[in-house]
Symmetry: D2
Subunit: 298 residues, 4 copies
């Protein structure tokens, strides 16, 4: 029997205050006719009233995705899970009440703006997660991090192989058992080996409107091309550099007076905003990964 | 037994191509526990598969609103209606397949920009409705309207009482039996009497970000106040001038170089865009009116 | 001695009403110390009062660009030109009062939305130019164009070589001596030969946020990549496909519910808006081309 | 003889790195013919080369405003000032090189989001000013402020008269001799008496798109009205509550799912962003106050 708790979910654009008896249910399975009716009937039998239900069918992949906010006087979570498992197509992924507070590890290099946004929200408990540690391949952000009483690990990359560096990084991070690893302007490319340890659990902020300006020096590339907008992209990290599923993208105007450094400065604001929005969506379990795309129930 | 037809729905941001056997269902009723399950079960019994379902509960008013896109091999529309009517709370409003092409009458004064946007979409069949007539209290837009083979009615307001003017306008418009009356920069205030003949069926574009700058000369007011954004608001017209349920609002930046006439010119672009978006939402049956607010399932 | 005239300049965001004696001066030259003082002194000597002056130095190219709106009781335009020519560095480009109404030729294929926006503004004299003709490689938009009393030329590409096609197109267009050629969703790639006949005079609307999704099928590419924004780019056409100087770019949000056709529909709105803005800037002589970039004095 | 220094100016959208010999000049005076020529000539005589010059004439008030970035090998600042004073119309306001780092005092109540943004930028020296103190009418933000080694003054309002409260506040703040007082969600209305001590030096963030929803509870007002956008306004504080000259405004979309608390949460992001942008503009001396409006040279 589950113990109910009050949960407050916060999103860039919305907030849900869950009462004592609210339940969040996430379902992914092969699509078939009548799934919504089937699921809602089952919930009704457990006296769960639907507050908000979102669903999407990826027709190419024939997959059904749903996120259901419901409330009810009390029910047996295990029984509901088992019934859903039996009723839904094989290999359905079902998650009931995943909203216990997540833990995140933040990787950084030298730039503070994304890290600061995360640490401030953490200290005021509006992040929707707990920052368990910050690790950097430079020591530059140690004192800032420690102002917030968060442990900082300096893992120098300069004196060791990529494999050694990542092994050390991995150990430092894993000690905290984070649910997500956030690359908050972490400027080292991670190996497939590292990435594969955290499938769909590493979130990166890329300083361009992907797929424009993939790779190094996107602001220089943007300057050379004479674009009139610059952007930022938050995405899950996969083995293909800069090719993982996109979560959030935004752009802001620039003009001929912007040199590379002006673009870098303007870009920081949009990077911060995009990563912040992406974290809120992910931490509220609003983001499903479907191949190299995301489905987001805002 | 309903005759199926292919329908194409268009929205600012999305398009749905309905296959032969698609069905749109709109429901508004008093809220109660289990409504979603109840409705989806009923649909399942008629072999209607849910493609997209949106619902919202206005907790203050205790009202439930839902818009359901479904598909199935064929069903008896009258039987489904009756079953829903019986199952749902008293005074439920149910609409099945309201999407036959609507007819709209457009009222204008002298400004062409909103009218032109509507007429161009009409001639290329992308409006989601048919413009049946244009009526103006000036004759200025007659020749433009007639380029599109749409009848234009000039109803001069200068030589008659408001009551006479509105009577004449009403007669001209009613002859076409429009589903909606669109005020495309129509600069006469309509009486309660006129408005009450078309409840939630008159859509106006107001040249400000309401409720700022209610009433006459909003751009002058905006200029005097030194605002850094101007906006436009599309809303349903009610007896309270500028107080009807808002459908769409947008703003654009202005600066100290803008005088009143520059604001007017910049404003036209946003007025056109806002009215266009509002019409698309309304004509696709995505907008529910709830008191002085709208619920919009985009 | 110049004959003064009243000119009204309109821009997306601003309007200038030139009084009888206003003068617009455009200058491009090698940069050197004291240019602004030198130019403004010269103007003062001709009793030209500066209303608005904008200048920019491209430091990489060591080029100075300036746009000056001034007014005065009357002056000898040729004398001013000669004095500026003598005072400024060699090969300075000077243009005094270039604002006589430009003529534009519009090339189209099958899509109406950009063409319609241009023709409507043309008929109400708010384009800042005169549309002299429309030419299409399909006949689809003839009747629409002719509603506006603009000649339409159908130049079929299917039965001839690219060279023959372009020769015919060129002849049709050149008969009207246009100042600019606008590609309003013209879906044929023009040869270097054709392009070089209109240096910095061909304006294209590209249906993506360049440089993302260069080439064919940008919306399909965007869909496959799972982007969360789509965009449009107006640019001058050069020999490098999709690589010419960018004038205006904008983006709008999309989400997982957008298939390719929904992106196409949403994209049309942004394409129309971006091309319209670009034309306004160019037609008001606010855009300077500097290498593969633009300098825009809004 | 002035001592040159390297200055880095940062703005939301642009950055200027001043070389050793750069000079910023601000001028406000009655308008007359030939001012730009007159000023630029004077600068040329001092070997000051104009990098960027912006000017605006408020025709209603017949006032000229100019901001000039220039560079040169060295000049006598006092002589230039005297020459400008003599050449320009009476009562001209002239400021040469006002860019020494400003000091700001921040007033808060309980909300952290605007304060945090300011303190983070302060600690990384990207604010363009130094935060000298934070004062609050609650003690809630003391520990957060002290993480950044900034003195926090708790001035309780509950046990004293408005006059006493403001006297105490004034004394605490004045001890630091701030150039600007920033109301970062300070929820007490300041008396005319207090305001008049800091003319055009108090910057407030108002949690609505002024002039909509003036006064208390703007988000509740916005919710009741059913608006589709909410906004924030940064403005200078004058004796008329919420009527001071506006510096920056932005809006973000909301919909029917937003209750008052969701609007409050979404609003915080826009409040933070708007205040941050306004501070950057003011601290770079880009903002001139003209009556109840601002002129901003971005």
């Amino acid at each position: 029997m589950k113990t109910f708790s009050t949960r407050v979910l916060k999103c860039g654009h919305s907030l849900y205050i869950y009462s004592m008896n609210s339940t969040l249910i996430l379902i992914t399975c092969t699509d078939k006719v009548g799934l919504v009716a089937l699921i809602t009937q089952l919930l009704a039998r457990h006296n769960l009233n639907i507050i908000a239900m979102r669903e999407f069918v990826d027709e190419g992949a024939n997959r059904f995705f749903s996120r259901i906010e419901s409330s009810g006087p009390g029910f047996d979570q295990q029984v509901l899970y088992d019934e859903l498992k039996q009723a839904l197509p094989e290999k359905a992924e079902i998650s009931i009440n995943p909203l216990t507070e997540k833990r995140i590890a933040v990787l950084v290099t030298k730039e503070y703006h994304c890290l600061a946004d995360i640490l401030v929200r953490d200290v005021f408990h509006t992040l929707g997660a707990k920052v368990c540690c910050v690790a950097g391949n430079y020591d530059a952000l140690r004192s800032f991090t420690e102002r917030f009483d968060i442990p900082f690990h300096f893992i120098d990359h300069s004196d060791k192989s990529k494999q050694e560096f990542e092994q050390e990084l991995s150990e430092a991070v894993n000690a905290y058992q984070p649910d997500y690893v956030v690359l908050a302007k972490f400027m080292r490319i991670l190996s497939s080996d590292f990435v594969s340890r955290y499938p769909n659990k590493i979130i990166n902020i890329h300083h361009s409107f992907l797929p424009a300006f993939i790779g190094a020096g996107p602001y220089r590339q943007a300057f050379e091309r004479g674009v009139k907008l610059i952007g930022a992209t938050a995405h899950f990290v996969t083995n293909d550099l800069d090719e993982g599923p996109i979560i959030v993208q935004q752009t802001i105007p620039v003009n001929h007076t912007f040199g590379v450094s002006e673009m870098v400065i303007a870009g920081k604001e949009i990077e911060k905003s995009v990563l912040s929005k992406a974290l809120q969506l992910v931490l509220q379990d609003r983001v499903f990964v479907a191949g190299n795309k995301t489905i987001i129930f805002e």
